[in-house]
């Protein structure tokens, strides 16, 4: 129930700079996913928003009000931890009651109101039958729910979730994702969800924030981040299998824009051609989805890349091959299965029409203008 | 490294009382002991304490009783520790099995560890009595003459060591047993998969992995044995003829029977130095992250 504005946030641990001058704007009631490889700073960012850690510089505003000097509780945030962090010496009910009995909440709720709240949250999370159990009598999924319940019991303005679904098995994971969205909608919170699982982030986020090495590469709706990545990192990070990144030189052959790689020329048509035309002669990164590559017969002519098989595996009925093309990694994905052995040489066609171009030095998306 | 003021205050409230108490009763006394040792300070003379420089320390180097007490202490520590270590190590392996009832026996064998040392001295004094002691009864069962356990200078030392061994061997056993139990099963499995024989596993894996525990127990026992006094108090009072006059006993009698506090202080300082050196090794062992676990 709050807009969050983060501006110029910097944090370092000793000599390690986690991030430097981070900006992010989150609108009220948005479901935000922070996604990135481990060590990208996503957890630190969430901990600073929660108030458990403080930033070195910069500020965080809730609804325009600076919260830097407020404690976690004063900020009115709820947080569910990756390892649940339930109080093992209390029952489920005791865990749910604990936040309501905090000294700073004293007198805010009568016993009756507390009971009503616990009942309400327990119903929402379907844990009413568990209320009198102790924590170690619960399964992982149940502990998860209790932990969520505890973070929601005060109706916090901001809900922080640290890898909340990661430990669950597949069936529960899908169900819990839809559950979390439902709770988010019912409670009308602003939710920030940290994860390293791109599938989870894509599945849940209203606003998907991709972080890398302490920077935000892109913050946009999930579909947009997936279909329209802002940097080469995002292009290669999302997707299963991920897009391949090829270092190319942009040029022109008989008036048509091309990308050159190892003396092979890939034609760039349509929009991509316009992009290439705007930056002739530049070094660029061409991101191509796995299905853009098809294996070629030995002597087939055309624009083919030559590579060595580094790995191959079968996933969901399709074959994946990781190819080394003069030091660059190319991911193939094809449902036509062929017998390959690691170390084999393989020639592949590359179809560039589905590709995207990024600036070589910065990794930023190139556009036609 | 920012920490809120509230957190700093909480940390101060939590930490300072204990630290203050230790400063008062541990750090200050060390300095005070040095101060005392540099003075003629006797409770039996009316004269007020006066500065003596290094006199007390010089006297220590010439004092045969002091030299003797050092060697008696060293002998005692060596005999007791060696026996405890060898016995304890072997017994730990005896108990390291899932055989029925062995665990109960192991637990029972622990009882001496926490017994009041004074009572331990009392009962061994009683049992070793030349005239009616039950140990001598066992000796006569084997057809030998009764032995003057507490009045012969060699036997007296062995008697005190025996009482100490009785009390502390179970502890050594327990430590090595616990270390043995905490060795992860997988290293042995890996050893078997790698093709090692059981004997090779013992020498190449078990023993090296037990080494830290052995070192730890050795140092703890050594430091505790150096300061042992209760057994001597009960069993021999340092006799016969100084044969069991360990350093703590000499220090104690100097301070509280002869009331020569200055001289006792100088012994205290020497003792603190000895023990500190030993403790150093221990702390390094504990602080060492590569304990092999």
């Amino acid at each position: 129930m709050v807009d969050i504005t983060i501006s110029g946030l910097s944090k370092s641990f000793g000599r390690v700079n986690v991030f430097d001058g981070l900006d992010l704007e989150v609108k009220d009631r948005t479901y935000v996913c922070l996604l990135g490889p481990s060590g990208c700073g996503k957890s630190t960012l969430m901990r600073i928003i929660s108030g458990l850690d403080s930033a070195d510089r910069g500020e965080i505003r809730f609804d325009g009000k600076n919260v830097d000097n407020l404690t976690c509780a004063q900020r009115d945030v709820g947080m569910a931890f990756q390892n649940y962090a339930l109080y093992p010496h209390l029952t489920v009910e005791g865990n749910l009651r604990f936040p309501l009995q905090a000294p700073m909440q004293k007198g805010r709720w009568t016993q009756q109101e507390m009971r009503a709240r616990i009942g309400e949250i327990a119903d929402l999370l379907q844990i009413t039958p568990l209320l009198h159990r102790t924590i170690n009598q619960l399964s992982g999924g149940q502990q998860q729910r209790v932990s969520l319940g505890r973070s929601l019991i005060r109706h916090p303005k901001v809900l922080l979730l640290d890898e909340p679904v990661t430990h669950l098995d597949a069936r529960l994971r899908y169900a819990m994702r839809s559950e979390l969205k439902r709770i988010h909608n019912v409670m009308e919170t602003t939710t920030i969800h940290v994860t390293h699982d791109q599938q989870e982030a894509l599945a849940m986020a209203d606003l998907l924030v991709i972080m890398r090495e302490g920077r935000i590469d892109q913050a946009a709706p999930a579909m947009e981040v997936y279909g329209d990545p802002a940097t080469s990192f995002v292009a290669s990070f999302l997707g299963d299998p991920p897009r391949s990144l090829l270092e190319v030189e942009l040029g022109e052959t008989s008036g048509a824009p091309v990308a050159r790689i190892n003396g092979v020329e890939l034609k760039l048509s349509g929009k991509l051609g316009a992009v290439a035309n705007a930056a002739p002669g530049r070094n660029a990164i061409l991101a191509l989805p796995a299905r853009a590559f098809t294996a070629a017969q030995a002597d087939e002519p055309g624009a083919v890349l030559d590579g060595t098989v580094r790995a191959h595996e079968m996933i969901e009925g399709a074959q994946r091959i990781v190819l080394d093309v003069s030091g660059q990694k190319v991911n193939l994905h094809s449902s036509a299965i062929r017998h390959v052995v690691i170390g084999d040489r393989l020639r592949v066609f590359a179809e560039a029409s589905d590709g995207m171009l990024f600036e070589g030095a910065t990794g930023l998306r190139l556009s036609a203008n | 490294m920012s920490q809120s003021r509230a957190a700093r205050r909480a940390a101060f409230i939590l930490i300072s009382p204990a630290v203050l108490l230790l400063l008062a009763l541990n750090v200050f006394p060390i300095g005070f002991a040095v101060f005392i040792s540099l003075r003629h300070w006797s409770l039996s003379i009316v004269n007020p304490p006066r500065f003596a420089g290094l006199f007390n320390y010089q006297e220590l180097t010439l004092d045969d009783r002091f030299i003797n007490s050092l060697s008696v202490s060293a002998t005692f520590v060596l005999i007791a520790i060696l026996a405890e270590l060898v016995l304890g190590f072997a017994l730990a392996f005896v108990f390291n099995s899932k055989l029925k009832g062995l665990d109960t026996l192991r637990k029972l064998s622990l009882l001496p560890v926490m017994a009041m040392p004074l009572v331990v001295g009392l009962v061994w004094f009683y049992m070793l009595n030349e005239n009616f002691g039950v140990i001598n009864w066992f000796v006569t069962l084997f057809g030998a003459e009764r032995l003057p356990f507490l009045t012969d200078s060699t036997l007296a030392m062995l008697s005190i060591a025996l009482a100490d061994i009785w009390q502390w061997t179970p502890f050594v056993t327990l430590v090595i047993f616990a270390a043995l139990q905490s060795l992860p099963e997988y290293v042995f499995e890996a050893g078997r998969m790698d093709g090692l024989t059981e004997r090779e596993i013992f020498w190449r894996i078990t023993l090296p992995l037990l080494r830290p525990a052995i070192v730890v127990v050795l140092i703890i026992r050594a430091i505790d044995a150096v300061r042992m006094i209760d057994l001597v108090f009960m069993m021999t009072k340092g006799g016969p003829g100084g044969a069991t006059e360990v350093l703590p006993w000499y220090l104690y009698t100097t301070g509280f029977q002869s009331f020569d506090l200055g001289y006792a202080g100088s012994m205290a300082v020497v003792m603190i130095i000895i023990v500190t050196l030993g403790a150093q090794v221990f702390v390094r062992q504990i602080a060492n992250p590569e304990k092999g676990r």
């Binding site: 899908y174 839809s178 790995a311 | 890996a190």
Partner: protein
Amino acid sequence: MAQVQLQDVHKIYPDGTKAVRALNLEIQSGEFLCVLGPSGCGKSTTLRMIAGLEEVSSGIIEVDGQDIVGTPARERDIAMVFENYALYPHLNVFDNIAMPLVARRTAKPEIRERVERIAGTMGICEHLTKRPSKLSGGQRQRVSLARAMIRSPKMFLMDEPLGHLEEYLRIELRREIRALHEATGGTTFYITHDQEEAAAVSDRIAVMTDGVLQQVGTMADLIDRPVNRFVAEFVGEPPISMFNDVAVANGQIRLGDYSVALPPALNRAVDASPPVSVGVRPGKFSIDDAEAEGLSAIAQSVQLMGEWAAILCDTPAGPATALAAKSELPSEGARVKLNPDPEGLLLFNKNGRNIVSAEV
């Protein structure tokens, strides 16, 4: 390179737990076989019996035609990679890798040469003098792999070797393990609970639960032709939709408010073994708008997965999960119709067996 045959192997612990029951399994020479199952299904026990770390209660384990039950582990010439790496904490990396050679009294210079060679292959040369505690999880598992590889054993056993690693490392290392398997041509018996890993790394997959082997086959077999409900529900992501208490009449099967005509092959099987539940893989549903024919459904949750999205629905027959292309996603809360592909129906009888395979 070895061929392994387990015949009617049982494992019963002293407390009465039946960890493995009547297991018959053949691992072909040079094969990479994965055992997949939930924790406690007996897969680890099976591996440890092959290793010789666990005694066999009854049954025969043959390696190349020779019964090895009773042979001590160290004489079986089998290498093992443990989930927790099982490195010797008091030895540095070099000595860890060298241990199998030391046990075989290999000459010092040869040990050095071979350790350095394998360390080069595994990319851990710069760590040879370090203790395991100074290494990251990925590096430790590389050391552990190197130790297994340094001699050429008859067979490799790997007990969830990637279980403790981070996602990206798992993908990287599973590819390396596969590459090593192909390079050495060894026989590999590999345990995991991660089906994607199993599919990616292995030639065949064996699914176990409660100590009983359920099915052996390729991933496609397990997805398209599961022998029973357990395999159908355990394998496949997003999970299969399972409808219970279904009824068949006149060659039609009733799902909530919709009836599907059974294809002839299924229809024939139905008479011999009446089904009580129906499973439909997410990809076998097509999603149509509310006016179309089909099983009425409300799209509760739309979970984007890239080019596809999983649509979690409520239907009169129970919850269902379907796949929709990125370009034609229903909105959350929308009313839709689900149309199962009749060829993709998986029918299970009251014993939970697939009626098609039950008949065969």
